[in-house]
Each structure stands twice: as structure tokens, then as C-alpha cells.
Symmetry: C2
DNA sequence: CCTACCGATCGGTAGG
DNA sequence: CCTACCGATCGGTAGG
């Protein structure tokens, strides 16, 4: 008995990069899944990697979760929602389009900085979901795109922005620029998310030319 | 004998989305791999998917290729090299930074349009390579980044561009915007690569403001 | 290029 | 939460 317990603890140590201990929960599993999916992507992370990270055996994960895909669904939807929640009130506020765009960019970078790995999963790995869930994600992504479209269109109407020949492409390019930060943002870098968002907003609004 | 042949042909038809026939070759396998990796990503495409697409049995692939990773290496390196080859002469030319930037963006969009799936693999899936090959890719990506850095720095020196507080971030944001086209460019869309590149160049140079 | 097969690993489950 | 295990699938090979 004592020997069995010892073996088990040893195995947990071997497995466990997990800090100290604390009970295993669905939330802990999701947290480790975010980290692992963010680092190595969904299809190449095995359930055994996740169970190692939380310090239990693979089969025991299913006491807390339903399936691997269920983990992905929750991570992706929560991730996108955090962007919608942060940016919707800004896009719909009464301020000028210029100010709204600056604030939306800042909000984006703040969410990105506080949830970098979740963002990586949410914006790139939703494609691994089965079709029904993929459709729901596509709707959320459309809502997100519409927030920026609204700001741009308002800015054109009000005369703040120039008469863009193709606002749709401008929106996609802007969002693409923001999302690319998942590939180069570093929490240990010299610039804060706020400072970065000012550089990006200047680029988007003023451009490179003098 | 006749019956065996019939069975084999039938099996090939079942497998084969392959056009007409023609001999299987390393090039054909690479072409189908580009398409499949581009559509569904490297880790979730099996060798059986590739062998189905070219119309042979899985084991027979290894007459033509060495390994699955070898396919990825070739696709990724050829893909990045096509960008370096297109943009290096422009970045190193004698023209103004403004013109060079416009032409570099146009060249980028032309390569992207003519090799959309290869670009998707090259820019996003090199992360699945083993570490030694990953390092080589990182070097190529640095060269690519340096081409744009050179244009931007030249433009700042010459006074064409404003005094960017952080040129590195501006370069990464610019490249991020260009690369995002792998997610929204459609060959059947209304705008040509040239027209798109003008929209993107205007965005980068002039910005959104009036 | 096929036949026949390999060991490894995958997500997940039954029963305690 | 573990023990013990499942069928399916993976990349790849030997021998013809």
C-alpha cells in the first residue's frame, strides 16, 4: 500500500511540471490545454500531454471533461468573446471614428497581451473544429469584423477618413495586422501593449509617409 | 490477370481525384501535398490522403519520396525562396523607398496569388519541422524581414517616411498585413492581385486619415 | 508499384 | 482518480 502510493507520487513527479499540487479541475485542465495548444497546436498535442501537465493519468481526464474537441470549443469561443466584449462598446460609442479606432486597437492589444496563448488558439486553430462548431465561430468572427467595418464606414461618412476604394479590404488588412501580433508580441519585450497599440494606430491612421 | 487489373483500376478510380492519369512522380506528389497541407495542414493530412490523391497505395509513395517531413521541407523552402527571389531585387534597387515599397507589396501579392496554398504552408506550417530545419527556415524569414527593414530605413533616412518611433514594429505589422492575405485572398474575387496591392500600399503609405 | 505487415500512438471507455 | 484495455490510425518497410 505504502509502496503503491510512493510509486504513484513518483510517477506524478515524473509527469508533473505542475506547480506544487492543488486539486485537478476542469479549469486547470483547460488552462494547461490553452498553454499546450498555444505552443504546439491542437492536432499535435495528445491527451497524454495534457494529463502529464496536470499530473493525472490520461483516462482520468474524462472525469472532468467530455472530449478533446470540447476543450478546443471552449477555448476558442471564450477567446473570441473576450475580443467582442472589449471592442463592441468602443465601436458603438459616440466618439469620433478616429478615437474609436485608436481605442479599439488599444483594446485589442490589451486582450492579446493578457491572453496571448488563448488568442493564438482562438484565431488560428478554430479550423480544427467539426463543421457545426466551425460555423458558430465563423459567425463570431463576422461580428468581430463588423465592429471594425462600422468604425471605418463611420469615419468615411464623417470625412475623418479618406474615401477608401475598398473598405472591406482595408478592414481585413487592419485586422490582419492586429492578429499578426500573436506571432511577434512578446510579454518580455521592451514595449507595453499600450505603447505597441500607439505604434500600430499611427501606422493605420497616418501611414508611413511624411 | 484481367480481373486483377480491373480491380486495380477500380480502386484507383475510387481513390483517384487525379486527373486523367499520367505517371506518378515526385513532382506530382509534392503538388498534391501542397494542396492538401494548404487545405487541412500538415499534421492532419495522412500519407494515405496523399497516396489517394495521386492514385497509388500508401507504401508506394516511398518509391518517389523519402519521408513526410521531407515533403514539408521542400514545400516550405521553395515557398519562402520564391518571395526572397521576387522581393530582393526590388529592395536592393536604386529607386526611391516609396516606389520600392509599392513594388515590393505588389511582388508579394503576385507571388501569393500564383502560389496561395504553397504560401499558406510556407508561412504557417514550418513550425512543424524538426529543429534543425526550423532553424534554416528562421534564417530565411529573417532575410525576408530585412528586405522590408531596408526599404523602411532608407525611406526614413531620405525623409520620404516619417521618423518612426519603432521601425521594427512597423515592419512586423506591415509583413503581418501582407501575410494575412493568405486568409482572405480569393482567386475568384473581384480584385486582381495588382489592384489589391495598390489598396494595401495606400493603406501602408498614406493611412486611413484624410 | 503492390502485398502484407510493423510497432507506436491516438482518443476514449468499463469497472472499480 | 487508477487499472487495464480497446479499435483505429499513424508513418514507414521488406520483399517481390
Amino acid at each position: 500500500m505504502a509502496k503503491q502510493r510512493e510509486l504513484r507520487v513518483t510517477r506524478q513527479r515524473e509527469r508533473g511540471t505542475r506547480a506544487a499540487s492543488g486539486p485537478v479541475s476542469a479549469e486547470l485542465i483547460e488552462r494547461e490545454a490553452i498553454r499546450l495548444f498555444g505552443e504546439r497546436t491542437y492536432p499535435v498535442v495528445g491527451m497524454r500531454d495534457i494529463s502529464d501537465a496536470v499530473g493525472i493519468l490520461p483516462g482520468s481526464l474524462y472525469v472532468h471533461i467530455n472530449s478533446k474537441e470540447d476543450l478546443l470549443i471552449k477555448i476558442v469561443e471564450r477567446g473570441i468573446r473576450s475580443y467582442l466584449d472589449a471592442i463592441a462598446p468602443i465601436a458603438e460609442s459616440e466618439q469620433s471614428a478616429t478615437i474609436r479606432l485608436r481605442e479599439a486597437i488599444k483594446a485589442h492589444m490589451l486582450v492579446l497581451a493578457t491572453a496571448l496563448e488563448q488568442t493564438r488558439v482562438s484565431f488560428h486553430q478554430w479550423t480544427y473544429l467539426s463543421s457545426e462548431h466551425k460555423e458558430r465561430v465563423i459567425l463570431m468572427r463576422q461580428r468581430y469584423e463588423e465592429l471594425f467595418s462600422r468604425i471605418l464606414n463611420d469615419g468615411i461618412s464623417s470625412g475623418e477618413f479618406r474615401d477608401l476604394s475598398n473598405p472591406r479590404i482595408a478592414v481585413l488588412a487592419l485586422i490582419g495586422m492586429l492578429n499578426s501580433a500573436t506571432e511577434w508580441y512578446s510579454p518580455t519585450g521592451p514595449l507595453s501593449p499600450e505603447a505597441l497599440s500607439e505604434v500600430l494606430a499611427d501606422n493605420a491612421l497616418i501611414g508611413l509617409q511624411k
